[in-house]
């Protein structure tokens, strides 16, 4: 003992407790983890939704948009037509109401078009070349991702313009052509080589591409409409839905009779019916199941009803009859039976139960099938090209996606397939492939500390009044105002994503959490010498971004 220590009476309190190591008491330690949110996992392009919503909330609008386009080159498109599985998965729906993620995306994306924001610079050029067959959403998404990584990318498209179904399959009142053009123009600036009006169909052409390019991505879609044999002989009055949409979107104004029947229950049926209504016709959708089983999106059905479109359910078309000058579609009544492979009750005809509907034009919207590319050893499965989870086909260096490989028929699914294919092509050609941005398990609603989130109703979505819709192709769904977008952003739980709220710091009874300077990597450091591993920070993290990890000594 030194002399000075001896001079202090032993009864004095002269030492600080922070010299003591209470960390030795611990059996578990909190770990900051950017965990995947339900919206991120549900998103077909795996968008970093909680991340860009935080940026939007902070007013970092350009940064938020940049975060979106890391995964999706067409947010103005998806901001309008995405089937938004993210919103269906949103944890907020268990609290009050789910977030309008799609409309927030649209707000940022439309702002980007207005401001002329551009995609990031492409990486330094690589020597490998990739050919993309099909200039629809899947092909364009793959082209975009590959171009950003520095590959030479060439797209081969049959039609005069790029866009695929985005251009020729979605009516203008859902996706204005101007919006699509603007987003495609921005993509064009990246330097992807386009070969429009160049059909790749023959085996020799594919062989040639295989030889010339290091990898192929085939996304030629499902172009062959399904038909009913009993209507083959009525070319005048029986039209094909996809063909009708193609003609309307190409600027034609097809002549339809005053009474139109649309056969089918999917998105094409709804799209053609609503288009027909805009061409001043009386429109009824004839579907063999019931409304609940329609594959179409709910909002579509709702909007169609508002526009005065009628529905005849549990009816299957049998034949066309002509009586004097009146043409009639004879239908058989159906009833629901056992569940089929799709999990929906199978419609079964009721014996001898027939009825007729007057009609001038019948539009077939029964879906479409793929044309299998003539490539040796390219395997198919259930009338689709067989691919694995990375969009890899049975042929080396040939990948496929979009409607060619999936019955989903969603724009975002196609964009996602294109992105996944691009990551896989990158891996095949010696790159790093897919990057993981989140770790750990999906954040559940039970892991959100709802005390921190007062209940707030969802923003009311605005639509063009039904009376103003049916005489033109004006956009029906309207976007959010800045105020609405910020309000929605403020409702976000940011599941699993640390937004530096400092709650963990404030709730530590042991002062064992240090706030780091911004931009220094991690937002916080756990002072391991003091942390007793109580888990209060985990519990008080509003969004499940901290987990407790057991320690063994």
């Amino acid at each position: 003992m030194s002399k000075t220590a001896e001079a202090v009476p032993t009864i004095w309190t002269n030492k600080r407790s922070d010299a003591l190591n209470t960390g030795t008491w611990r059996s578990a330690i909190p770990v900051y983890q950017n965990r995947p949110s339900p919206c991120h996992l549900a998103c077909p392009v795996h968008g970093h939704i909680p991340v860009w919503i935080e940026m939007l909330r902070k007013g970092l609008l350009h940064e938020a948009w940049q975060k979106i386009v890391e995964n999706n080159p067409f947010p103005s498109v998806t901001g309008r037509v995405c089937h938004h599985p993210c919103e269906d998965a949103c944890n907020r729906s268990e609290h009050d109401a789910n977030l309008s993620i799609r409309l927030m995306e649209r707000y940022l994306a439309d702002l980007a078009l207005e401001k002329g924001w551009l995609f990031p610079e492409t990486a330094s050029p690589k020597k490998e070349k990739v050919a993309i067959i099909g200039g629809g959403p899947a092909g364009l998404s793959a082209a975009y991702q590959l171009k950003l990584k520095g590959y030479t990318v060439e797209i081969f498209e049959t039609k005069p313009k790029l866009g695929g179904l985005l251009r020729y399959g979605i009516p203008n009142y859902r996706l204005p052509a101007k919006v699509l053009d603007q987003e495609l123009n921005r993509l064009a600036k990246l330097g992807i080589k386009y070969h429009t009006e160049t059909a790749i169909t023959g085996a020799a052409e594919y062989k040639q591409l295989q030889n010339k390019y290091d990898a192929l991505f085939i996304a030629t879609g499902a172009q062959r409409p399904r038909k009913l044999a009993q209507f083959e002989n009525n070319p005048e009055t029986v039209l094909d839905g996809l063909d009708l949409l193609y003609r309307i979107n190409s600027g034609q104004k097809p002549e339809l009779g005053p009474k139109v029947l649309v056969i089918g229950g999917g998105n094409t049926a709804l799209d053609t019916a609503r288009c027909a209504k805009r061409l001043a016709a009386d429109v009824t959708i004839v579907y063999r199941r019931t409304e609940n089983q329609m594959p179409s999106q709910e909002t579509e059905i709702l909007e169609a009803k508002e526009e005065g479109i009628r529905f005849t359910f549990l009816a299957s078309p049998v034949k066309l009859e002509k009586e004097n000058e009146t043409q009639k579609l004879v239908c058989q009544k159906m009833q629901l039976g056992e569940k089929d492979a799709s999990g929906r009750p199978r419609p079964e005809p009721i014996k001898d139960a027939f009825f007729a509907l007057e009609t001038d034009t019948v539009i077939m919207a029964l879906g479409s099938d793929i044309e299998t590319p003539p490539i040796d050893e390219l395997e198919t499965q259930d009338h689709l090209i067989k691919v694995d989870a990375n969009q890899q086909t049975s042929v080396k260096n040939i990948l496929a996606g979009g409607d060619l490989t999936s019955n989903d028929r969603f724009v975002s699914s196609a964009l996602g397939a294109g992105k996944i294919a691009a990551e896989q092509i990158d891996l095949l050609l010696g790159g790093t492939g897919k990057e993981e941005h989140f770790t750990g398990t999906e954040v559940l609603y039970e892991q959100i500390n709802t005390f921190y989130f007062p209940k707030n109703p969802a923003t009311t979505k605005s639509l063009l009044p039904a009376s103003e819709r049916t005489r033109n192709f004006q956009e029906v769904q309207l976007g959010l105002t800045e105020q609405q977008a910020l309000y929605e952003a403020a409702r976000c739980f940011n599941c699993g994503w640390c937004v530096s709220c400092d709650n963990c710091f404030y709730f530590c009874p042991d002062m064992a959490i240090k706030i780091n300077n911004p931009g220094n990597g991690e937002n916080y450091t756990i002072l391991e010498q003091y942390c007793k591993g109580c888990g209060l920070c985990v519990k008080e993290c509003p969004r499940g971004a901290i987990v407790l990890k057991e320690e063994s000594k």
Binding site: K15, S17, C501, A512, C534, P542
Partner: protein
């Protein structure tokens, strides 16, 4: 979203001896760090002892006087008078006691100090029992709760200390807890700027004594408020009532079913507790209506 921004002066140090996840350590952090270095505290026997640390270590960078169990209020008042005599009236004097030292053993001294309106701050860390010595009951232990000295559940009700202090017409008495950190911090700031006998009764859900998971002290604090068991309110000068956070329609069952000390309860006893909580709330609301601070 709720967001905290709390300025702290570093007085309370890590390395202290509180159990992991202890609400009292967190409450003490804000009391000490907001009152700051220009303070003196008295500490009777309580969990505050281990929290300060074993000799010669201290987790509190202010002078501490360890008084006898019954004398926290009078010791604090004496120190305050001595400081004033030496022209150091600027120094805050705090009594940091548990419910045993306040509701039971120190009540006589507290009553006298309150009656004189001595210029001290009294923080009662109310964990509803003698949790430091092995979970014996105090007069703050609620009805039907198990303690080692009430193995079949306590028969009498929890003493209402807020009303006792209000009856002394002290300048300020309030309830608080760490589940509502912003409310708690506001109250500490408020009494720091006041004079006279000021008291905050902080509900401290005790992980070991009450029996609930080690990460749930804040959750339990909130449930106590949301079920109406422990409403957060202030009484100024004995007559001015302000309710800060009251029940949100949750049944008491959601609170008591999460605590081991209540696990022996019959459905009948649960409804008795519910009735008691409803009565207490009706009475408090009535008082707040009659004597609103904003009137």
């Amino acid at each position: 979203m709720k967001h905290y921004e709390i300025a702290e002066e570093k007085v309370f140090l890590p390395g202290h001896g509180a159990c992991p996840g202890c609400a009292m350590a967190l409450a003490l952090r804000y009391v000490l760090n907001i009152f700051g270095r220009n303070s003196v505290a008295v500490i009777p026997p309580s969990c505050m002892g281990p929290m300060m640390g074993a000799q010669p270590y201290s987790s509190m960078l202010i002078p501490i006087f360890h008084n006898s169990f019954e004398s926290s209020a009078s010791s604090a008042a004496g120190i305050k008078r001595a400081l004033r005599a030496r022209d150091r009236d600027d120094v805050n004097v705090l009594a940091l006691a548990g419910d045993g030292g306040t509701y039971d053993i120190g009540l006589q001294a507290l009553s006298s100090v309150a009656e004189h309106n001595e210029d001290i701050v009294y923080i009662c860390m109310d964990n509803e029992g003698y949790m430091n010595t092995g979970t014996q009951k105090s007069s703050s232990t609620p009805r039907h709760a198990y303690t080692t000295s009430t193995p079949g559940g306590k028969e009498s009700r929890k003493k209402n200390l807020v009303e006792i202090m209000a009856a002394h017409h002290v300048p300020y008495v309030a309830t608080a807890n760490i589940g509502y950190l912003d409310d708690f911090v506001t109250k500490i700031h408020k009494i720091k700027d006041m004079k006279g006998t000021r008291m905050i009764i902080v509900l401290i859900p005790c992980i070991d004594g009450w029996g609930f998971p080690g990460d749930a002290a804040a959750t339990m604090s909130r449930l106590a408020v949301q079920t109406g068991v422990f409403p957060l309110y202030e009484v100024e000068d004995g007559t001015k009532y302000t309710i800060n956070h009251g029940p949100e329609g949750l049944p008491v069952e959601t609170y008591i079913s999460r605590q081991r000390r209540y696990r022996h309860l019959t459905a009948e006893q649960v409804s008795e507790i519910q009735k008691e909580v409803d009565e207490n709330w009706a009475k408090l609301e009535g008082m707040a209506n009659l004597f609103s601070a904003t009137m």
